[in-house]
Symmetry: C2
Subunit: 332 residues, 2 copies
């Protein structure tokens, strides 16, 4: 019963237009964690929020913003898709601890401490050396805990990630990455990280970005679900969700902004390479409106119960958001 479950995609960065919102609604997804910014500073982040406000105004029949977890249930009831915002880097807070509460009030619910590079807070997964959590990073984690902004370490390096899990007084997430046992890549996560994440109540969203998958764009639904099953055996099903990293209909310029920001004059190919510099081909069984339903069916075939499959396609994300988004008064 796919439609009885709350369905949440824990990360997308598609081209957000009305056609796409219609597709999202048709897909049965109740809420999606949308990347608001990659490298935008505080001021530019306001413009991204403004652009979304205008999308909400023009598409109020299809989408609505999510500020608290209850908004996701409201979206489901209203037949709309809830949009919850996250940043893939800590650039929205500039160098200012006080902007964490400001951005949370604005609706930034999730923030990565780093993208691929060193940030003011921690180290990204493509750096040679991993500083762990910086002095500012330790303050930022405490403040994010206090105001109910979720720490996301998807693009961070191993030591930084382990330290964030340890320092944070609340569970954190890796919204979109896969285990290295399934595909060894700098962006994927070791068993050590996944176990530490789960031990503290955190959540891992499985990615459908081909560079994170065994056999890339040829990865089968069966292989994808087997990867989930093996991870469930390791840490339990309640820590697992989907964070598809779906980037549909985006031009090459967006890929270059993701990878290069303003920090490099040379092309950085990220997970690609000079002769494979474009967007990877999307997975045929995921990129259409049946994507989440296909995963649900695949999970059932792999041996998960209906309840477990429901947890993985959204229930676990919902529970994680429910315990993560309220301010933590004890830290005041």
């Amino acid at each position: 019963m796919f439609q009885q479950h709350i369905v949440i995609d824990g990360l997308q960065y598609s081209h957000w237009d009305r056609d796409y919102f219609l597709m999202l609604k048709a897909s049965g997804i109740d809420a999606v964690h949308a990347t608001l910014v990659y490298h935008e500073d505080a001021r530019a982040t306001l413009t991204r929020f403004a652009e979304w406000d205008y999308r909400f105004e023009r598409n109020s029949d299809l989408i609505m913003p999510v500020y608290q977890v209850e908004d996701i249930k409201k979206a489901k009831e209203l037949g709309k898709v809830g949009i919850l915002f996250g940043a893939q880097n800590c650039s929205p807070i500039d160098d200012e601890i006080g902007l964490i509460s400001v951005m949370r009030q604005q609706g930034l619910l999730i923030m990565q401490l780093t993208y691929n590079n060193q940030s003011l807070l921690a180290t990204g997964c493509y750096e040679q050396k991993d500083t762990g959590i910086t002095r500012f990073g330790q303050q930022a984690i405490r403040e994010m805990n206090r105001v109910g902004m979720i720490i996301d370490m998807s693009h961070s390096a191993e030591i930084s990630t382990l330290e964030a899990i340890d320092i944070s007084e609340r569970p954190i997430c890796i919204s979109h990455a896969n285990p290295t046992f399934a595909h060894d890549a700098l962006r994927n996560k070791s068993d050590t990280v996944i176990k530490a994440l789960a031990a503290k109540g955190g959540l891992l969203g499985f990615s459908l970005y081909p560079f994170h998958l065994p056999n890339g764009s040829d990865c089968t639904l069966e292989d994808f679900c087997q990867m989930i099953a093996k991870t469930a055996d390791m840490v339990g099903v309640e820590h697992l969700g989907i964070g598809s990293d779906l980037c549909l209909n985006q031009p090459q310029s967006v890929l270059e902004w993701m990878r290069n920001g303003r920090w490099s004059k040379q092309m950085d190919y990220g997970e690609g390479s000079a002769n494979n510099s474009g967007w990877p081909d999307p997975l045929p069984w995921f990129s259409g409106e049946d994507g989440m339903q296909n995963i649900y069916q695949g999970l059932l075939k792999t041996g998960f119960s209906d309840k477990e499959a429901g947890q993985i396609i959204g229930g676990n994300w919902y529970d994680f958001l429910e315990k993560s988004l309220t301010p933590m008064l004890s830290l005041q």
Copy 2:
């Protein structure tokens, strides 16, 4: 029965520290419209919000933010002072229409279209020529109406103010100014403006800033209440409130920032002059913790009923905020 009424001061810009919050609480004020910024742009406005977030964290036993009108009743119940934010200029939106909804979401409930000078939206009261509402200003008024951000014309010129009243689909306010019949000053308002404001359901907050008053710092409580009575005779009591413009404990540098911003290399003395360039002496019967209670008693002595005095010291502001702060879906 002073304490039975909701008491709202419709504008203050005092030095916001714990001692002052203790004084505010002791004064019986349930909510105060606090000036967040004078000339700060969007980015600097975020820092002002961040500073307030930290004040709320450190003084959570005394103050709380107001995002909706219900928060004022909540503050009264909890014995706290609700803080509602306004800008004395349109600088927080830079040149970007989309920042109106962003700033509203952040908690900016009230915005003046101009301070004393020409702005991108309208003309300030100290300019020689009054353009009226600009092209951008017309769009901004519509957007402010839509999202529930209150238009304040306290520092604006006459034609601009009349046009704003006319163009706006919702009532607007003049949060802190007095009638020119009581004291003729560029910052005060003509009978024409006050009548037009009231005819559209707007609100006038009487100022206690000495430069706006007959006899300046020597203005008596009786004269102040007579001014209110005469205005009530003209437009009815339901359009009248208090917007004290109280600026206690602020250094000269703040006065210079108010008056000069970044726009002048020469000193502009605003309502003062070269040989009267400092803060005016506050009114002895208003600047202490009995200020609002003194006004209440003065209004009773002047002949207002208890109900009417209660409306003037806060009830009318409450009703005005109640009808002004909800988004206006019909404009979506």
